[in-house]
Symmetry: C2
Amino acid sequence: MKTTALQFCLALLGLSCLAPAAEAPARRVRPPAIVSPDIQADRHVTFRLQAPKATEVLVNGQWTDGRAPMTKGSNGVWSVTMGPIEPGVWEYSFQVDGLAMIDPGNPALKPMRAPRTSILHLPGQPPLIHDFQDVPHGVVHQYTYRSQALGRLRELVVYTPPGYDKQPDARFPTLYLQHGSGDNQATWVAHGKAHWILDNLLAQGRAKAMVVVMMDGHAATGGGAGGPTSNTALFERDLLEDVLPFVEANYRVKTDAANRAIAGLSMGGGQALAIGLQHPDRFAWIGGFSSGLPDQDSLTGLLSQPEAANEKLKLLWIACGKDDFLLKRNLDFIALLTEKHIRHTWRPSEGAHSWPVWRGYLAEFVPLLFQP
Amino acid sequence: MKTTALQFCLALLGLSCLAPAAEAPARRVRPPAIVSPDIQADRHVTFRLQAPKATEVLVNGQWTDGRAPMTKGSNGVWSVTMGPIEPGVWEYSFQVDGLAMIDPGNPALKPMRAPRTSILHLPGQPPLIHDFQDVPHGVVHQYTYRSQALGRLRELVVYTPPGYDKQPDARFPTLYLQHGSGDNQATWVAHGKAHWILDNLLAQGRAKAMVVVMMDGHAATGGGAGGPTSNTALFERDLLEDVLPFVEANYRVKTDAANRAIAGLSMGGGQALAIGLQHPDRFAWIGGFSSGLPDQDSLTGLLSQPEAANEKLKLLWIACGKDDFLLKRNLDFIALLTEKHIRHTWRPSEGAHSWPVWRGYLAEFVPLLFQP
């Protein structure tokens, strides 16, 4: 073997190092590397997309003034520099002749049922509550399981707190934490940064160590077949018949209602309220973030026996942003709870129906859990 | 609260259930659901993309005859039905006016540095070695860590075998398993199905229970700055100074060379060979799948003392497909090993530089590991 042959081989690999499509099917293409997002120290960010045949390309981002046209360069690469963009975990899409798509230069994608959204994470200085900090970290576990209730494969994510493995005799409380309709079981970690929020709250002594269970909220097949009511009913079966027993058999967790919480955002908030309020013997802590609301049937028990709810529930925490399209429904629900003298915490906030708001809710809600 | 208000709210959520962009920034769009890929029982598959302004849309898939034009319907939805497609885990892209992109209808994405590829998984009947089967399952753990060697945040994936948590006194061997240049630490699980291959081999009594560690092979920042040599050198530092000590402090693993293996594909195969052959005191089992090859410097020790290699190495296993663009380099390397009388296993195979080949290699390689 000659050195030149080795060098050729290394050069080849060097090129393939730079090439997004190095293992793409059918042919091997090695375009020049397109760096996007290209983040400067001052939080100006350049977005780039190689699309020589496109006629209009936009960035559509969640930050302030996040929508901007991109300009086509002579090399067929569209680009725009924006900012300085405020620290945060932001979602954005490219819009190419009207087609919304991820930024193919960015490996950080928001897990979604229909993925069109990339993640731009700009850490704060000092770090924000959802940023990775140099504190002890928990572990995120991924599972695929065959749901007996639903008869098909499903996905599950479980977070264990820092030190879980080093305390073989300890048992922990559990938070079941659900996502919204566009997302899936992976979104609270990949985009919500739930694991880092928990790590940071724990390091600050502001929360109890707990296990967090994140399920796929889409229990009905075929993208919502049967509507949200039947989806919630199916989800409840999968939770109570499959996942909760699995978690309690495989993790060192406490198994009484006082050590179980259920919460969620949007569709997942509706699921948390519907299931939690129907099963106060299972869950004593309930959180609804910008929630869809349960239907009347699931509230019958609660409304007919408000004293029982007040006796069993440790916390019924409901939050919604003042610009959220679900605000009116949440206000109506709060009025109903008030009228029936059902103890609850109402936390109106700034903001709309969006992940920056939900990260904040999680950081507020978790410190309240499992406290005496 | 009136029933009609509740019904309105539910209807809203029902719609948002179907809408990919339910939580998209800037505006909330609810197009009709586009189902893609739409998989029939006979393995015909329909692909769809809503792109009213596009002039040419293709599917570019890895299966036989996987490239096909899509046809535009009057609703602006492009579609094509292909198949029957053979069982397998296939990658595919849409090509929209020359722009390669994921299928935004499909939540299953191949983790890549520059994501342009979706996953079509058609299980076999009977199930294939990489399919989820009803056997005991291991657990996949995700970490973010601050690499002291590299001075920045990195990602890590660790698989523990079925029953790991139930055997507190057992210690396991470890396989360090690396991806190729286009991919990252998540690809061996999400696309390679390494966890299911391990689960299935174990259930069949064909492999030892082991921990598998999957790192991000891109240790150099900026998409290969400094070339693959310096990337491998940096990767080696992160492996030996950060990850290996972390794994051995946090998992119940054996810590002698006879219980450590290192393997990888393409760029990761080059890393496994370079690091393994330079550190036979650390790794006694080495696998190169369609490997990039180490440079001369990293082979000096091996070539000057072939007897030492033969004494220390339990297995040096090298495989490459007959249609692989790296075949010639691998054949040259095998000739060199033969000339120097360095014991090795050469496993030429069918196929090219692709994941279906690498899943097969893993299923062949793992049963050889840690055997007496």
